[in-house]
């Protein structure tokens, strides 16, 4: 009897895993197709609208860039320098020092001649107390807020309170924006007044050459772990997020680069302090807030405004990052599970939310369970080795196909990796990531699901090397 129950459980699990693989890959495939369609249209539109010119003549809406910084002494001066050189008519940079214990404040004050001043916040989000506000005597659009430590979300909320303009761009202190990134990310707000938030694409800076805070030459990193992440980011942004955004069901705008309508974010309550995934939680809450208050809204993703960011190059830092991301995902979705299959929340509640809930959040459990069950079945002789192998082959072929679709989209549109060798490497990565990297990721995400109950929150960052030291090795 017990033997039968075990066999039945294994069999049911086999079918579940098979179904899970088919479903998740089918959805990835469909979002990729949607993305492809949107991208081709978008590229043609770019040819008919000259946004630089449009902005110049008609006046683009002014933007406050919020840069929360916690112990960023290695990169903060360089990052701010690159922000000061952005091509945009009117913008304010608000650096929020979240009680750094290193020399972040001193470095910024020295580098930009910051002078203490006073201003009244126009937002009413609750935050840790502000110790001082500084403005740069060299750049009239650069401000620095020094506050007690309260976490990234708290720093962003302080920035929202003090932001001068109705659009704010949330940015990581270690991100490097391309010069025209603001012009491009503001586009959905111009084209559709209902837009409340838009996200841009994040690309990996490791291996590229920087000069004076700007990206000079894009290169593939020499570290294979970073290379895997390049393809992973392409897939996540070009295939997945763009596809979901077409359905107005995008649940993530990366905390490293996103543009928001300030008044709506203020009404929705700002960033949540009590989560490690404050970026995702805000987007999910914006969906919920707008739907509950019957606000006609759009949350968009634009494929060409680029922010470059450093990615982890060691297994331990990558594991830490993925664990945090997964915890953020679990926490954001659990808080708003009211939206799950709730028709009141439209397509987000019926499609986007369930996808993230069952396939992205619980996926690692199913996937890891699948690997274990297969191993057990193969070693106990209960499953055919050939069946396991053929199943693995199907999973690899599906994975490679979807990865290659994102490479197609990259090649069709933005083509950042221009050297022929880079293309070959992308092919190799698409195949190799299925053996080892993918499984490692699954384990980290699985760990994230398990530890999400602990609700740990802090600025958990991998140690960054700083752009100049890392990149100028030519």
């Amino acid at each position: 009897m017990i033997d039968s129950i075990i066999i039945l459980t294994f069999l049911i699990f086999n079918f579940m895993i098979f179904g899970y693989f088919l479903l998740i890959n089918l959805i990835y495939f469909l979002t990729s197709v949607l993305s492809y369609r949107t991208l081709t249209k978008y590229i043609r539109q770019l040819r008919s609208i000259d946004f630089d010119e449009l902005m110049g003549r008609a006046g683009a809406p002014p933007i406050s860039i919020l840069v929360p910084a916690f112990n960023e002494e290695n990169t903060c001066v360089e990052s701010i320098r690159s922000l000061l050189e952005l091509q945009y008519s009117k913008y304010q940079i608000l650096v929020i020092n979240d009680g750094s214990s290193d020399k972040t404040m001193d470095k910024l004050i020295d580098a930009y001649d910051m002078v203490k001043t006073f201003t009244i916040p126009s937002g009413d989000l609750k935050t840790e107390s502000v110790r001082g506000i500084y403005y740069s005597s060299r750049y009239d659009n650069l401000w620095l807020i020094d506050k007690e430590n309260g976490g990234k979300a708290d720093a962003l909320n302080t920035g929202i309170n003090y932001a001068k303009y109705n659009f704010f761009c949330a940015l990581d202190a270690d991100s490097v924006l391309e010069k025209d990134a603001l012009i491009r990310i503001v586009r959905p707000f111009l084209e559709d007044g209902r837009t409340v938030a838009s996200g841009g694409i994040l690309r990996i800076i490791n291996g590229s050459v920087m000069k004076d805070g700007a990206l000079q030459e894009i290169r593939m990193p020499s570290n294979w772990l970073a290379r895997f992440q390049i393809l992973e980011y392409l897939r996540a942004f070009l295939s997945a997020r763009l596809g979901w955004s077409v359905l107005n069901s995008s649940l993530i705008i990366s905390g490293a680069f996103g543009l928001f309508r300030r008044n709506i974010v203020l009404k929705a309550g700002g960033y949540c302090n009590d989560t490690v995934g404050e970026d995702m939680e805000l987007v999910v809450r914006l969906h919920r807030y707008c739907r509950e208050n019957e606000i006609d809204y759009r949350i968009s993703f634009v494929p060409d405004p680029v922010a470059w960011t450093e990615c982890p190059e060691t297994f331990s830092s990558l594991a830490k990052q993925r664990d945090r991301w997964q915890r953020g995902l679990v926490d954001s979705l659990s808080r708003h599970r009211k939206m799950l299959f709730n028709p009141k929340f439209g397509i987000v509640g019926m499609l986007g939310f369930p996808f993230f809930y069952f396939l992205e959040m619980l996926g690692p459990i199913v996937e890891l369970g699948g690997y274990l069950v297969f191993l057990i079945l193969v070693f106990t002789g209960k499953a055919s080795f050939y069946f396991a192998l053929s199943f693995f082959m199907v999973a690899v072929i599906l994975g490679v196909s979807i990865s290659l679709m994102s490479v197609v989209m990259e090649e069709l549109t933005f083509r950042r990796y221009k050297r022929p060798g880079d293309l070959i490497r992308l092919f190799l990565i698409a195949v190799l990531e299925n053996v080892g990297y993918r499984q490692f990721n699954t384990i980290c995400r699985f760990k994230g699901v398990l530890t999400s109950m602990a609700r740990k929150k802090s600025w958990e960052k991998f140690e960054r090397k700083g752009f100049v030291e890392e990149i100028d090795h030519e």
Partner: protein
């Protein structure tokens, strides 16, 4: 249970299951191959495109600069454009047209004129809205009045993108006689950012203010368009707009319009207009109270201390914040000192504001 086990095992070991797995594998393998071919095709195409552009730039760059300087004749320059290169030539000229003005722009337009009909014909044949929009922009930048009809037809297009490009190009060209059509066409893409749209209208200049005022008061105009027009009237500094705004305030109930109208009065009105504005200080909506407070503070010539005191006791934090901001901007430290004497949060804010003013 045994039945279920044998059923599941049956499925798992059936030929159909394996066929299903094989079909999926083969289909996606083929798909994978197609992707590989596509990637290499796109790469090859992109390289070819880049090489072609490099060739054209090398071929045309110096001669065009010499043509602009007057050392080469236009005829000689045009001889460098061979058959099949016409569309590239137009694209090449568009880049110059964006940067140049006056006599140099006239030369660029003249160099483009023999080939613009190709663009027009293609636009007539191709129904793709993106191409239509691009063609309109090109013809507007490089063409003359000959293509005006095409722009006017663009205003009637079903595609919001085409309508937007057509109206924007007409607005930039300054055609006040078509002002009404342009403003009407805004309804087709009114979901665009209102600041952006009002800036676009104000680019057309003051020659059709009358049309704007009429549309602002018309019952048929949508609230969104009225808001856009209100902003444009302010940008254009229309002195008569205040009268229209006051007229509208007598009956309007939509908050956005009330705020826009008060904003017009604040920017373009006079002290006499305050009589109509004052009642709004007691409006139930804080945003309207703030607008009215700003207008009164900006226009009033008399002492408004009593009003400020009344607003300081407002239950809405946003109103109090706006009041303090107004007082700071007006450097009205006496009233702020009076507000700062208490121990409430509002008083703390006033104290902070005074501290800031001292710096």
């Amino acid at each position: 249970m045994l039945h279920l086990i044998s059923l599941l095992k049956g499925i798992l070991h059936s030929d159909w299951f394996y066929i299903f797995v094989i079909v999926i594998s083969i289909s996606f393998f083929c798909f994978m191959c197609v992707m590989c071919i596509m990637i290499f095709t796109f790469r090859k195409r992109n390289i070819k495109k880049e090489e072609r552009w490099n060739y054209f730039e090398e071929k045309w760059e110096n001669p065009i600069l010499e043509t602009l300087a007057g050392s080469i004749s236009e005829e000689k320059m045009l001889k460098l454009v061979e058959q099949g290169e016409e569309l590239y030539w137009i694209d090449f000229l568009v880049k110059y047209a964006k940067r140049l003005k006056g006599s140099e722009l006239i030369i660029i337009r003249s160099l483009a004129s023999p080939y613009l009909d190709i663009i027009k014909k293609r636009a007539d044949i191709l129904s793709d809205p993106e191409y239509q929009a691009r063609a309109l922009r090109t013809l507007s930048q490089l063409g003359d009045e000959k293509y005006l009809d095409m722009l006017l037809d663009g205003l009637k297009s079903n595609s919001p993108l085409v309508v937007m490009i057509a109206s924007r190009e007409l607005a930039l060209k300054g055609h006040p006689e078509h002002g009404k059509e342009i403003v009407n066409s805004l309804e087709n893409y009114i979901h665009w950012d209102h600041h952006f749209l009002s800036a676009m209208i104000s680019n057309m200049g003051t020659s059709f203010l009358e049309t704007l005022r009429e549309k602002f008061l018309s019952q048929e105009t949508s609230i969104e368009l009225k808001t856009v027009i209100a902003r444009s009237l302010i940008k254009l500094g229309d002195q008569n707009a205040s009268a229209s705004a006051l007229e509208l305030l007598k009956s309007e109930t939509d908050l956005r319009l009330i705020n826009s109208a008060i904003y017009i009065v604040e920017n373009l009105g006079t002290v006499d207009d305050l009589e109509i504005i004052r009642p709004f200080i007691e409006h139930e909506q804080p945003s309207v109270r703030i607008s009215a407070l700003r207008a009164i503070s900006g226009l009033s010539l008399s002492d408004e201390t009593d009003l400020y005191k009344m607003m300081f006791s407002d239950t809405e934090a946003a109103v109090v914040l706006a009041l303090i901001e107004i007082l700071v901007n007006n450097k009205n430290s006496e009233i702020l000192k009076c507000f700062a004497s208490g121990k409430t949060t509002k008083s703390m804010l006033a104290k902070e504001a005074l501290r800031g003013m001292a710096i």
